[in-house]
């Protein structure tokens, strides 16, 4: 046998988001000079990120290497995979690849931001083969809780880099579109250098329930209901929406849609042929009262207890068109995303209080879109990767997924449990960790991008705990005499009417401190201010055990 040296290439793989967290998925594959980005998701802020609307990945690495970025591939249309696009496309003017439904949803978002004209959207499907830069990219169909999801296969000289996207194996998919197991097997046979695979449900043994089983559960609830039926689910779960519509049609009910995102996705999915509704089934929400209760289905958002959602407004009696009746049946066809448990149960409690029949937390009306352990093993066994990277999950889930990969024969030293920014470098097909690229959270509040930094957040946290106390004093600097103040104004600290004495004492203390400082000729403003801050802070903590932010303001005339 003659040894022929294969074409050398350098491949780098890393995550800018989506590892060590659920959300803001963004992975980067570099094949020699080509940079290919997979997904561009957002994350919702955690409790610590006060006042923040959304969080997106730090893309400074991509900006710094802009001339090499060849395109962004979207695996499916969920917010945690596409939600950052409207924010980053101003900076990255590259083609965006996605399937029909994915691009349909993306287009809606771009229109809102006035960007639809400037972004180059390119349609793909599970059979597409493309050159992105000089690199060949293939796709394979997967099942997930949104139609039209794909995995990505990026060819390199030493085998493919495969990214599964979010996936499960559904043996009874609602739309009859199966995971393309054949193609996965073919990719595996051809040789996979590295597999990046979804870890969300790595902790769950067995196999996830098929989406069509949920259809049965929903249908049964429809058969049992006497009055109106209200179903809350994720707008993007088009299969679920389809099954609700099917159940409604089966039981001769009309369907009305409430909630902005539900209205938008239903209309996109119908237009693109992903949702099939008989003529006459959909009615306007204003017409609900023209039918008897047992002819009505209300399809709504709010399954995550979002305070402004349609379901939440119904629960609080604040929905303009729908007032819940005790004869209604309410189906929450979702489980709370981690962190949302409290807000969901709050809404569910309010719904129970209306006297309606609430179906919540029951297996039959929801299933996950992410594969369980046996499905993760199937993917591993189909792909037979040389290297493995568990992605899309908190560290714990990635960790368990690593163990699963071990049981499928991947060698321990070929599993990379990476953090954001950590680069896996493959030289001639041999991988190792090699350095880091910048990565992190960009916090978006209002229209500003990237300007809510740590200082602002730290101040919001301080303010949220014990409020603020502003001390204003006007000095005549020429002769060091207080000519007005000190005035003390507080917000979020104490109830002022009950605390007049406390605030008077504080004011006296400031006068005393200032006078003393001036006698001692401390008249650097910064020293005056820090003296006031120290004295007041000590005094207030002693009296109240609270530590408001203290803001001394010295005016000079």
């Amino acid at each position: 046998m003659t040894l022929i040296k294969q074409e050398t290439d350098k491949v780098r793989v890393f995550a800018l988001g989506g590892v060590g967290e659920i959300g803001k998925n963004m992975y980067v594959v570099e094949v020699d000079e080509d940079i290919i980005v997979i997904d561009a998701g957002l994350m919702f802020p955690d409790d610590e990120m006060l006042g923040i609307d959304i969080v997106i990945p730090d893309i400074s690495y991509l900006e710094a290497n802009l001339e090499r970025v060849r395109g962004i591939i979207l695996t499916h249309g969920h917010e945690d995979h596409i939600g950052a696009l409207p924010y980053i496309m101003k900076k990255l003017n590259v083609p965006v690849y996605g399937t029909k439904l994915t691009l349909g949803i993306v287009k809606g978002k771009l229109v809102e931001k006035g960007l639809d004209k400037s972004v180059d959207l390119r349609l793909i499907d599970g059979k597409s083969q493309l050159k992105i830069g000089t690199t060949t990219v293939n796709f394979f169909r997967t099942n997930h809780s949104i139609p039209d999801s794909v995995g990505v296969c990026i060819e390199t000289a030493h085998g493919a880099i495969v990214h599964t996207g979010d996936f499960k194996f559904d043996q009874n998919p609602v739309d009859g579109v199966y995971s393309d197991i054949g193609k996965m097997a073919t990719i595996g046979e051809k040789g996979v250098l590295c597999l990046l695979s979804d870890s969300t449900n790595a902790e769950r043994p067995g196999v996830s329930m098929s989406e069509s089983v949920v259809g049965q559960g929903i249908k049964e609830a429809f058969y049992g209901a006497k009055g109106r039926i209200i179903v809350a689910t994720f707008a993007s779960n088009v299969h679920r929406v389809q099954q609700v519509i099917n159940a409604a049609q089966k039981t001769k009910r009309k369907v009305t849609v409430s909630g902005r995102s539900m209205l938008r996705i239903v209309s996109i999915a119908m237009e693109l042929g992903y949702l099939h509704v008989n003529d006459g089934t959909l009615i306007d929400i204003a017409d609900v009262d023209k039918y008897s209760d047992d002819e009505i289905t209300i399809l709504t958002t709010g399954s995550q207890g979002e305070p402004m959602s349609a379901l939440s407004r119904m629960a609080k009696g604040a929905h303009r068109q729908i007032t819940i009746k005790s004869s209604d049946t309410i189906i929450i066809s979702a489980t709370p995303i981690p962190g949302n448990e409290k807000s969901v149960t709050k809404i569910v409690d309010l719904l129970f209080r209306t006297g309606a029949d609430v179906i919540f937390g029951q297996k039959q009306v929801h299933t996950s879109g992410h594969g369980y352990q046996e499905e993760l093993k199937l993917m591993l066994n189909l792909m037979k990767p040389k290297y493995f990277v568990p992605i899309h999950g908190e560290f714990r889930m990635q960790h368990v997924h690593s163990k699963i990969a071990r049981t499928c024969g991947v060698k321990q030293d070929r599993i990379f449990l990476i953090d954001k920014g950590e680069v896996i470098e493959f030289i001639d097909g041999d991988g190792k960790l090699n350095g880091k690229v910048p990565s992190g959270n960009v916090l978006i509040d209002g229209i500003g991008v990237g300007d809510v930094g740590n200082i602002v957040l730290r101040d919001r946290r301080l303010l949220s705990k014990d409020g603020i106390l502003v001390v204003v004093v006007t000095l005549n600097k020429a002769n060091n005499v207080i000519i007005s103040g000190p005035d003390i104004i507080s917000r979020g600290f104490v109830y002022v009417r009950e605390s007049e004495k406390l605030l008077e004492e504080a004011s006296a203390l400031v006068t005393e401190t200032l006078t003393k400082c001036m006698v001692e000729n401390v008249n650097e403003w910064s020293s005056l201010k820090s003296n006031i801050r120290d004295v007041l802070s000590r005094h207030l903590f002693e009296k109240t055990r609270r530590r408001p932010m203290i803001l001394p303001i010295i005016m000079e005339v």
Copy 2:
């Protein structure tokens, strides 16, 4: 048969806390002139209650009827049943009844607040029979996740008012102390007018696992561990702590204790004979390194992800004595209390990152202290109450518990699904809802009680979202001339260095507005201020889509 008119009495039952919520349990039973209080718990604040330390019930009804309050009965020593005591005993000087362990824990809390001398603590056990006022009160032993818990039976002329406390039926209690089913049956035979029963696990079918099964799970984890073992659990779960100590002793390990509340409860439980530890088992945390790793067990708090707890500090590498090694086995012997999911998984993720073996979320190492559906039915069947009140739970759980009571033969119109403050009145043994007493949340922040009202909280919420902008200007009121300012200081709004232009514009806008006002002779301060606020608010929202709190301060010289 001669009809003899029974002694007439008026009985009133209501909750000041613990219904429609998990936490701050406080129930009131009035028998003619006697007011008897059952439990005095606290609740931890939810995310909306910014800066609040704890929440306790509003006891203004008790204060208004102080001369009739005969005593407070504590069913067991958990915070949600005793935690309000240190705050209310300054106002209610009445005897407090509890079992040995309960009073031991209470005493520790009162000492901290310097109240131990002034509170009249009276010891009871499951066999006690007391007169409280002129009312006879009996008790019965129950099983729960803390030893020495009891239910309460208050005699009235038309049958007993029974309060179960928190309970499960454990057929293999760790300490061999069984629920006193015999006594419950006797109480039931004698006649129960109204049963108030724990609804926490009303949604769970079947029977809760025995605490001793957890002992097996823990022991197995101990057998499998090669290095040190770190176990996090609730300090008050003395049975769990006992089982950890047993497993340690069985595998020839020493035990060291970390975390203030764990240290306190272990010492109280040992002193009072509820925890049995061989001589030489406990070692000081400073001596851990004198032993080899497989001889060490570390018992710690922090199973709820509390940011300052010992486990959390270990996870972050900030614990003074314990640094986690990759050879450690960490057992989280608890499940997250609703609302704590995110903080728990955050800590668990950090622990996984250390490379240690983390046992979390596995059935075998935790069980609930609250009975499941079949246990709730057993209680109902033993007590055979005429009236039923599901307590201790969110509305949803109370609702499901009502349905369970229906299946046990309680009539629908004799089930009261009450809210806080709603009074059930029994006249001659016939019950109906009759009015409300004041009830609500008292928010405690620092040493103040009850002075963090809605205005303060609302301000904290506003401040936490977009921060604050203070505008100060000094005017000469005689001639309406600005002599200093406008100065603009912001906190938690924008990163000042990147927003100089924005703030300069804002300042110019204020000058313009003030000048215009003075020309128009608007020199009422309140009008000036509201003008500044309106103009600035509009401008800043347009530029940033944020709405900071705006605080105009006008100084006059």
